[in-house]
Assembly symmetry: C2
């Protein structure tokens, strides 16, 4: 699992500011460090997870699992968390006489080991890659809690790969490929260097023996030397169970933050006595790779806001299009505006039993038909960071082709309803 | 929120049997009453939630929110849960000196009240409809735990509607419409009666005053009398905060089980001091409607398995198509089989930075190219409940049109790769 790093105070206030303007999320002392995602924030959060699920499942061969949140104390003793991570964990118990003692999970790894162990595993099943988007809880000190970045409840795009020693290099290279896609193509945070890599080695408090640690560090060093990107050493910052490659990006102030992580673990297979039957019918121990690409989805959202200041790309924007009838007293203009709205939202409000189809497109569109001058409403929509403005006057009603502009350019394109819908579909499909 | 009902022992063993054959889920004493969904089970679980999100958002105007799982004790005192529901709740606390005391949420309602209360609300915002798919925990007695139905951790397709008294009837009728779509069109459990309705009235242990209870019961009775379906009275089985309409279906043995629920609540708005500014600028109290259509998604899955015995409809089937090359020694047949596999799965395993597109279709297809007779492999795929078998022999390789059959009929249709893909897309879009 991954360790959260703190964002600069500036980054926190930027994301809080964006949230206040766009009603994305809030926190409340009734649940310190847990985020309430409002509808617009939940849209971005869900969309990010949807993106990552697609890449992991259909490009990188992960299988999603859904796992429990509370586990008996004995599991955490077995995993080593009770000894090494106890202060960061929440205890759970019933109100009944049994008083069974549970830990609320801070990481998914032990649960994935249980799934691995549930069946006899053969070499032919490996590498086995589990993805999990469970909520995780870590009991950060209450004084340090703030916004999306210093939280107690968060979600990771978490995954664990169970593989043979021979498969480690390939698997880590695949992880690095997905990192490359995310941080250069889909979410390029900084134009000059993009992301950078660090090797975090054995910390003072660790489990397992030195020889295995040294071997694991050698494996990662070898991969980094071959990967073609520059990297640096971050001595003593590894997880208690193994060394890791951390992927970092810079915020607007130049401060670096960990996002993705790839961790090599020889301890967990030992502690959970994991095995697979090899070609020669003997049992061998798999290696576990912990990896996350966003890291904490909440923290990743804060990084996005730090970088975009609320100007979301179309596919993530909770405000994709504002439809503006020029004269709100002209019935036809208002009627056409609302018809376009339903079409773009992909809504079916008929009083029938027809379901909304799977994989259909639904855009975040609104109509502004307040009795205000059209110039005022255009300015307002621009200020609110709508990706597109669609303006419907008499001429547009007559021709059925509406005036479409982006927030960046005043240039108008005249498009039919179907053309607008297709254009938006293409933008979303391409993560534009 | 909804109350879980127990399924018959027979229903439990049916779903456990289906799960064992199809590797859908398991439970483990390390987390009693929490389900581990394996990849195939997670697919069904996620698909059900995806279906419900689409209907709620784009046909019934719900907005999804994501809310904390742990809240300070004082919230549960305010909501009345600490007094009326304490035995069913888990306590949570840190390991540090602070020992703050939290409750792990058994219901989403108090969290939604906090979101409502976060902003000044106007009559023009109502009805405000929040949807939430959070994991919920209820500390059921450990002796009673079993399979998907007697659980401690589960997910609801939960929703709360905040509305004016005048809007109640319309809102409840909309809920009944969605119930109708689900239980007659998409998931018809029983052919003769489908689902049936019950009015559950004031229980012995209740909060609030009698007059308000009587009024709420009158409102629900009035709606039931007008709705055109038969219903019956279930005296004293209401929630502690209000009366409700329960929607029930029958399992294979004829025993009835609650699935959906619609609950009217005048207490929560009182306890959380909720209000909205009306047209006349005075503040008024909204009414809260709690509703769920699947109820517990886990229990709903058990009901589905009880009814389908593992023969999932195409759109829910983790085994949608098995591709079988007739002669596994013929390279071309095997090659074409794997090319079709990639196309149906919508995979892109290229070593490039092209992402998998949003809203793309991905079918659960496999290839059986084991060195076994073709008849054996066909029989095996039928037994495993694959929806479609796609058979590729020399003639199919030559023409590029593959032999497609359903599990029910031996009749073969010869289709190109694109035709198969389109056919499958249509099936999924229509929840076939
Ligand atoms: Zn991990
Ligand atoms: Zn509720």
């Amino acid at each position: 699992s991954t360790k959260s790093t703190k964002l600069a105070a500036g980054t926190i206030s930027v994301s809080q500011e964006v949230s206040n303007k766009q009603r994305l999320f809030f926190t409340d002392p009734i649940s310190p460090g847990s985020i309430f995602f409002l509808p617009n924030g939940a849209k971005i959060f869900n969309r990010l997870i949807q993106f990552m699920k697609l890449q992991q499942q259909f490009k990188y061969g992960f299988q999603e699992v859904v796992t429990p949140l509370i586990y008996r104390k004995s599991l955490w003793e077995q995993s080593g968390h009770w000894q090494n991570y106890k202060e960061d964990m929440f205890r759970v118990e019933g109100h009944d006489n049994m008083k069974e003692e549970y830990g609320l999970k801070p990481m998914n790894c032990p649960g994935h080991c249980l799934i691995y162990k549930k069946f006899d595993r053969s070499y032919s099943e490996l590498p086995l890659r589990f993805a999990d988007f469970s909520p995780l809880h870590r009991n950060e000190a209450s004084g340090a809690l703030s916004g999306l970045t210093r939280v107690r409840k968060f979600h990771q795009d978490d995954g664990h790969i169970f593989c043979t020693p021979e498969q480690v290099e390939n698997e880590i290279n695949s992880c690095l490929k997905l990192v490359e896609m995310c941080y250069t193509k889909i979410f390029p945070f900084s134009e000059d260097e993009g992301y950078f890599l660090e090797l975090s080695t054995r910390p003072d408090s660790y489990i397992g023996n030195l020889e295995i640690w040294n071997h694991a560090e050698d494996v990662l060093t070898g991969i980094l030397k071959k990967c073609g990107r520059s990297w640096r050493l971050n001595e003593g910052d590894g997880a208690f169970y193994g060394p890791k490659i951390d992927i970092k990006v810079r915020d607007h102030s130049g401060k670096s933050h960990q996002v993705a992580t790839i961790q090599l673990d020889f301890q967990l297979p030992e502690r959970f006595d994991l095995r697979y039957k090899d070609r020669d019918n003997t049992y061998k121990k798999p290696i576990v790779i912990h990896r996350a690409v966003f890291g904490s989805v909440e923290r990743f959202m804060a990084m996005l806001m730090d970088s975009n200041r609320g100007r979301w790309p179309f596919w993530l924007n909770p405000r994709q299009a504002m439809i503006i009838p020029v004269n709100t007293k002209t019935t036809e203009q208002v009627k056409k505006s609302h018809a376009l709205l339903l079409k773009l939202r992909g809504m079916n409000t008929n009083d029938d039993l027809t379901p909304i189809a799977l994989n259909s497109f639904h855009f975040n569109a609104e109509v502004d038909d307040r009795a205000e001058p059209v110039g005022y409403r255009i300015k307002d929509a621009l200020m609110k960071n709508y990706s597109y403005l669609i303006i419907i006057g008499d001429k547009e009603v007559e021709t059925g082709r509406y005036a479409v502009r982006t927030k960046e350019s005043r240039e108008l394109e005249h498009l039919s309803t179907d053309e607008i819908f297709s254009k938006f579909c293409e933008l979303e499909k391409n993560y534009a």
